[in-house]
C-alpha cells in the first residue's frame, strides 16, 4: 500500500443510486430535504437523478417521479458549497439531455457505460469538453474488464486519450473483494497519471473495505450513500465509512454527527412522502446476483417479475445470469422469466 498523502473526496450518490431501491420515486421534497441536510455536513459532491442516470426514465427501466430538469434544478437551488453531479449513460441519455443539465447548473458530468463498451461515451465526452464542463469517465460493471490481460488498463488509457482526467471504477455488480480493488487501483495509479474514484456495492458485504482499500491504494474519490441506500444490496454505507476513516486516522472534514442525524431521519423523510423504506441488505438473491456478475440495479425488476410470474427469485437470478445481461437490458428480464415460466 502506498503512503497516504491524498485527500479524500466523499461523493454522495444516495439521490441517484438510491432511486433504484425505490423504483425511481424520489421526488422534489425528498431532494430538497436531503440536500438541505447534506449541505451542512461538508460532503463535497451530491449526485441526483434516475437510477440509470440522465434520460433513463422509461417504461423498460422505470419512470422517474419527476423530470431530470426538475430534480437538478431543485438540488441546484439548495446546494451551495456542495457540488452537483449527474450520471449519464449514452444510449439512455442524448446530447440534448446534457445540454439541459448544463443549463440546470450541474457541476460534474460522470459519463459512463459498461466498461467493455466504454468507447461509446466518446461523443458525450467531446461535447462536455467543448462546453468546458467537468467530465469524468465511469467504468461501469468494471469486473467485465478485470482479467488476466488487465483489460481495465486499456480502458483507462482510452479515457486518457479522450482527455478525461478522472476515472471512476464502478463495481456495479458488487462482485469485487478488497484484493481485486488493490490490484485494479494500484495498477492504474502505477501506470497512469489520472485521478481515480471508486463506487462500491455491498452484495458480498465488502463495500466498506473495498472503499477503504481503494483509498489506501490511491483513489481520491469514494462514492457512498446514506445507510448504504442504493441498488440491490446497496452501496458503501456513508455513516459506517466515515466512522471507519476516523478510526484509522484519516481526516475528512465532514461533520460526522450530522451524518448520523441524517441516517436516523432518512427513512422518515421517505415515509413522509409515502415511499416504503427498506434497509439495504444482501438477500440471497443479491448474493446470487453478484455471483453471476449481474448489474445490481436489476434487483427491483427481477423482484417485480418473479413475483408476477410466481417464480422463485433465486431461480430467476440464475436464469438471467446464464444470459449474461448487462446494465441497460432490463427489458429482457421479462422475456427470460416468461420463458422460464413457460418451461414449467
Amino acid at each position: 500500500m502506498i503512503k497516504i498523502k491524498n485527500k479524500i473526496i466523499i461523493s454522495d450518490v444516495t439521490l441517484r443510486d438510491g432511486n433504484h431501491a425505490v423504483n425511481h420515486s424520489i421526488n422534489e421534497k425528498i431532494i430538497r430535504n436531503y440536500c438541505e441536510f447534506i449541505e451542512e455536513t461538508g460532503v463535497k459532491i451530491v449526485e441526483v437523478g434516475h437510477g440509470n442516470g440522465l434520460g433513463a426514465s422509461s417504461l423498460s427501466i422505470g419512470r422517474s417521479n419527476i423530470s431530470d430538469e426538475k430534480a437538478l434544478k431543485t438540488a441546484r437551488s439548495i446546494l451551495k458549497k456542495t457540488k452537483l453531479s449527474i450520471h449519464s449513460i449514452p444510449g439512455f441519455s442524448r446530447i440534448d439531455d446534457l445540454k439541459k443539465a448544463i443549463d440546470c447548473g450541474v457541476d460534474i458530468f460522470r459519463i459512463g457505460t459498461n466498461s467493455t463498451e466504454i468507447d461509446t461515451i466518446y461523443s458525450q465526452i467531446e461535447f462536455c469538453k467543448k462546453n468546458k464542463v467537468e467530465c469524468w469517465g465511469v467504468l461501469m460493471m468494471a469486473h467485465l474488464v478485470y482479467d488476466k490481460k488487465k483489460t481495465y488498463l486499456k480502458k483507462v488509457k482510452y479515457l486518457l486519450s479522450l482527455g478525461v482526467k478522472t476515472v471512476i471504477i464502478m463495481d456495479s455488480a458488487g462482485i469485487f473483494l478488497p484484493n481485486d480493488i488493490k490490484n485494479i487501483i494500484s495498477n492504474i495509479k502505477k501506470n497512469f497519471k489520472i485521478r481515480v474514484g471508486f463506487h462500491g456495492h455491498n452484495n458480498f458485504g465488502s463495500a466498506i473495505w473495498n472503499s477503504i482499500t481503494a483509498f489506501m491504494c490511491g483513489a481520491e474519490i469514494i462514492d457512498v450513500s446514506i445507510k448504504g441506500f442504493g441498488a440491490g444490496a446497496g452501496n458503501t454505507q456513508m455513516d459506517i465509512f466515515l466512522t471507519v476513516l476516523e478510526k484509522i486516522n484519516i481526516k475528512t472534514n465532514i461533520k460526522i454527527n450530522k451524518i448520523y442525524e441524517i441516517a436516523k431521519k432518512f427513512p422518515k423523510i421517505l415515509e413522509k412522502e409515502k415511499i416504503k423504506y427498506k434497509n439495504p441488505f444482501s438477500e440471497p438473491k443479491n448474493i446470487m446476483s453478484a455471483n453471476y456478475g449481474l448489474f445490481s440495479g436489476f434487483a427491483s425488476k427481477v423482484d417485480y417479475f418473479s413475483d408476477k410470474f410466481k417464480l422463485d427469485d433465486i431461480e430467476a437470478f440464475k436464469a438471467i445470469g446464464s444470459k449474461k445481461l448487462v446494465a441497460g437490458q432490463e427489458d429482457l428480464i421479462f422475456n427470460i422469466l416468461y420463458n422460464l415460466k413457460k418451461k414449467k
Binding site: 422509461s58 423498460s60 442524448r94 466518446y122 461523443s123 421479462f334 422475456n335
Partner: protein
C-alpha cells in the same frame, strides 16, 4: 453499364457489398474508403472486391456509370461527403445508411410508389420497429399515447461509427418514428451487449395506452402482427415479432428478434442485416422502375 458505388468499408459497407453481389443487381459494384490499411480494406482486397482507397475523389470520377450510391460511413462523414457530391448526384439515388439526418426517411416495408432520390434508411432500430409502431397507431389511434423502443445489439456487430454515433442513432430513430408512425411521444434506447458468444439482435417495444384494451383488439393486434412477420420476410427472412400482455393493463410489449443471414458477420448481427437488406430491396425496386421507365421510352 449499371454500376453501384458503396462508400465505406465498415461492417455495413462490406455486408452490403456481399448482399448486392449475391442478388446480382448490378454489373459492377465499386467500394471506396480512404484508408487502405483498415480492417475492412484488407477484407475487400483479400476477397477481390472492386476496392479503391481514393475516397470521395475516387467516387466523383466513377459516377457516370452508377445510378445508386450507398453511404455506409458515419454520420459525420456523411455530412462531408454529401456536401462534396451535392451537384453530381441530383439525378441519381443516394442511399444513406448512416444515422445522419440526410435524405427522406424510407422504410421499404411500406412499398413506396415513388422512391426519393435522397433516401435515409434511418437505423436498424427504426427499420425494425416502424412497421409495428405504425400498425399499432393505426389500430389503437388516440388510445396510444407513447411508444418506446429498446434495441440490444451484440458488441461484435457494433463498429466504430455506430459507437461514436449513439446520439445520432437515437435522435434519428426518434424523429423517424414520430414522422412515419405519426406518434408524438416516443423514446429510443440502445444497448450494446458484450456477451460471448454474442447475443442475437433483440428489440423490445413498449406501448403505453390511455385506456386498457378489449381482448378483441388485443387479438386483432396479434393477427396483424403476424401479417407483418409474413410480409417482411421477402426482404428480411428471419424477422419475428411477438406481442405480450404486460402486467400493467395499460402497457403492451412486443419483442422483435432479427436473425441475420450471416453474409459478412454471423447471424447474431441481425442489426446489420436489417439495414443492408432494406438497401438491397430498395435497389431492386429502383432498378425495376428504372428499367420500366426505359421500356416506356
Amino acid at each position: 453499364m449499371n454500376n453501384a458505388i458503396i462508400i465505406g468499408t465498415g461492417k455495413i459497407g462490406i455486408d452490403l457489398y456481399i448482399k448486392l453481389k449475391k442478388n446480382n443487381i448490378f454489373d459492377k459494384i465499386l467500394i471506396f474508403n480512404t484508408n487502405k490499411h483498415s480492417e475492412g480494406a484488407k477484407y475487400c482486397k483479400k476477397n477481390k472486391f472492386l476496392y479503391f482507397d481514393t475516397g470521395v475523389e475516387g467516387v466523383q470520377k466513377n459516377l457516370s456509370n452508377s445510378n445508386i450510391i450507398y453511404d455506409c460511413t458515419s454520420a459525420n462523414s456523411n455530412i462531408i461527403i454529401t456536401k462534396k457530391l451535392k451537384n453530381l448526384i441530383k439525378d441519381k439515388f443516394y442511399i444513406n445508411l448512416t444515422p445522419s439526418i440526410f435524405g427522406k426517411y424510407v422504410v421499404p416495408y411500406f412499398n413506396q410508389h415513388k422512391i426519393p432520390n435522397e433516401v435515409n434508411l434511418i437505423t436498424c432500430g427504426g427499420q425494425t420497429s416502424i412497421p409495428i409502431i405504425s400498425l399499432f397507431k393505426k389500430i389503437l389511434k388516440k388510445n396510444l399515447i407513447y411508444s418506446e423502443l429498446v434495441s440490444s445489439i451484440s458488441a461484435k456487430s457494433a463498429g466504430i461509427a455506430t459507437r461514436h454515433n449513439i446520439n445520432e442513432y437515437i435522435v434519428n430513430t426518434e424523429n423517424a418514428i414520430k414522422q412515419l408512425a405519426r406518434i408524438k411521444k416516443t423514446k429510443v434506447i440502445i444497448n450494446i451487449n458484450p456477451s460471448v458468444p454474442p447475443v442475437n439482435m433483440m428489440n423490445s417495444l413498449f406501448f403505453e395506452l390511455k385506456n386498457s384494451i378489449s381482448p378483441n383488439i388485443f387479438y386483432n393486434l396479434e393477427m396483424e402482427l403476424k401479417k407483418i412477420n409474413k410480409r417482411i420476410k421477402f426482404y428480411i427472412p428471419d424477422y419475428n415479432a411477438t406481442l405480450f400482455r404486460a402486467f400493467d393493463s395499460k402497457v403492451l410489449r412486443v419483442t422483435v428478434r432479427v436473425i441475420g443471414q450471416g453474409d459478412y458477420l454471423p447471424t447474431y448481427a441481425g442489426n446489420l442485416d436489417i439495414i443492408t437488406s432494406s438497401a438491397v430491396y430498395l435497389s431492386k425496386q429502383i432498378n425495376q422502375s428504372y428499367f420500366n421507365d426505359k421500356n416506356k421510352e
